[in-house]
């Protein structure tokens, strides 16, 4: 989303139709709330909270495949995040969601030899909850930043449609036993059958060649021009970011060259003993703030925090 002129920025803040009517997607916390709502002005509000279309499309697909009437869904990268959302919904709605909220975990079930490049640690936690709580669920995403990214949505959708991302049923409440290996084996063997069938098809059906080639072309363009990094380089990229943050990597070099580079810790932010292990990466800024607060509550106890100065408004709502 781009607001290229001063007048379009003012128009956005004032909720002018010529700006907001054109907004189909945007930054997740680009929830449009006009400034003077804080002054208790009785103005028309059209709050917008954007969830990227590829994510909503995947959520709809999950709803069609696993959901029930009266349910809505929200997508998370882990069961832990989904459970935090359930806890939040219960606290805010002041009612137990036992038997009303459930999480479905999807994970790759693939033959590593046939699909060596699929990210086997990928997880998609699909949370189902009563539709009456949709606004609260969006608030959770808005404040914590714990939803999935559009890239993950795109990747998961592709795997799911190819039968390579399968369901592992889990219980809603943490601590309760999963329906163990037997169920997983059932799904895994189904996926394996799917893989073997697909491998057979590909070896005999040249008609698939064109769609595979188009997909490879698109992937080449995305990776060649630096918009998407090859997944094999993910760990190296994260390490490089951590080293840039602490100041031990300052050279302007290609990512692959950083692997063997000497980790210069002589000027790490003027703090002795600082290493890249002291940096933790999160999916977004609000996620890092939310998790920092949760970590501190766990480590030091449940005490009030202080918010000092006029901070970004969602931070205030987190602590």
């Amino acid at each position: 989303m781009s607001l290229p002129t001063w007048s379009s920025n003012v128009g956005y803040e004032e909720g002018k139709d010529w700006v907001v009517s054109k907004m189909s997607t945007g930054y997740p916390r680009c929830g449009w709330v006009r400034f003077y709502e804080y002054m208790d002005c009785q103005a028309n509000m059209r709050p917008r909270f954007f969830i990227q279309k590829s994510i909503t499309d995947l959520a709809d697909l999950m709803l069609r495949n696993f959901g029930s009437v009266g349910e809505s869904t929200m997508l998370f990268p882990s069961i832990r995040s989904a459970n935090r959302c359930i806890k939040f919904l219960e606290l805010q709605s002041k009612k137990s969601l036992e038997n009303q909220a459930r999480a479905v975990m999807l994970l790759p079930a693939v033959d590593e030899r046939a699909h060596p490049r699929i990210v086997r640690t990928l997880r998609l936690a699909v949370l189902f909850f009563p539709s009456s709580l949709v606004k609260l669920a969006k608030t959770f995403w808005q404040h914590t930043g714990e939803g999935i990214s559009s890239r993950q949505a795109h990747y998961c959708r592709k795997l799911f449609e190819e039968g390579l991302l399968v369901e592992k049923q889990i219980e809603t409440r943490p601590g309760m036993a999963c329906k163990g290996p037997k169920r997983y084996q059932k799904y895994e063997s189904t996926a394996e059958r799917s893989i073997n069938h697909k491998t057979d098809l590909q070896s005999h059906d040249s008609g698939n060649t064109e769609s595979v080639k188009t997909s490879d072309d698109a992937k080449f363009v995305e990776e060649r021009f630096g918009r998407n990094l090859n997944l094999d380089m993910a760990e190296l990229a994260k390490k490089a970011i951590c080293r840039r943050v602490i100041g031990s990597l300052t050279a302007n070099i290609e990512l692959r060259q950083t692997e063997d580079m000497h980790n210069d810790t002589s000027n790490c932010r003027e703090i002795d003993g600082l290493t890249d292990d002291d940096v933790y990466l999160y999916s977004g800024g609000m996620s890092s703030i939310f998790n920092t607060h949760q970590i501190m509550l766990s480590a030091l106890g449940h005490f009030q925090s202080i918010c000092f100065g006029w901070v970004f408004r969602f931070k205030y709502q987190l602590i």
Binding site: P28, E37, Y38, M39, F88, L91, Q92, H143, T144, G145, S149, G226, R227, I241, C242, V245, G247, R269, E270, I271, L274, V279, Y280, L281, Y282, S283, G284, G285, M286, S287, S288, I289, F290, T292, H293, Q294, M296, L297, L300, G301, H302, F303, Q304, S305, I306, C307, F308, G309, W310, V311, F312, R313, K315, Y316, Q317, L318, I319
Partner: protein
Amino acid sequence: MNRFPYLDTLKVLEKFGPGCLFYGHGLETDLDDLEMRLKNGHKFLTLFCEVPSNPLLKTPNLQRIRKLANTYGFAVVIDETIGNYLNVHTLEYADILVSSLTKIFSGDGNVMGGW
């Protein structure tokens, strides 16, 4: 607690923890008030601030905040998103630094991240 014209108030703050003492203006007199509460035995978990703040670009008195934190045992969390680690050295005053990488680390503006 200072009044502040947000519609979301303490009720929202309680959602994710035991609530928050909010000093919206970030003034020296606010630190005086905080110090008085600390001396009276009030215990706090963390102090969150931004350097500089968004959108008013105010920087709190980090030296005094660090001293209070050391004396009374709370953690200081500084968000250096606006200042950025290339421009402002805040780590010596913080127990934890946080930042939004979304703003700076992709020239295409098509990536989100934080640390």
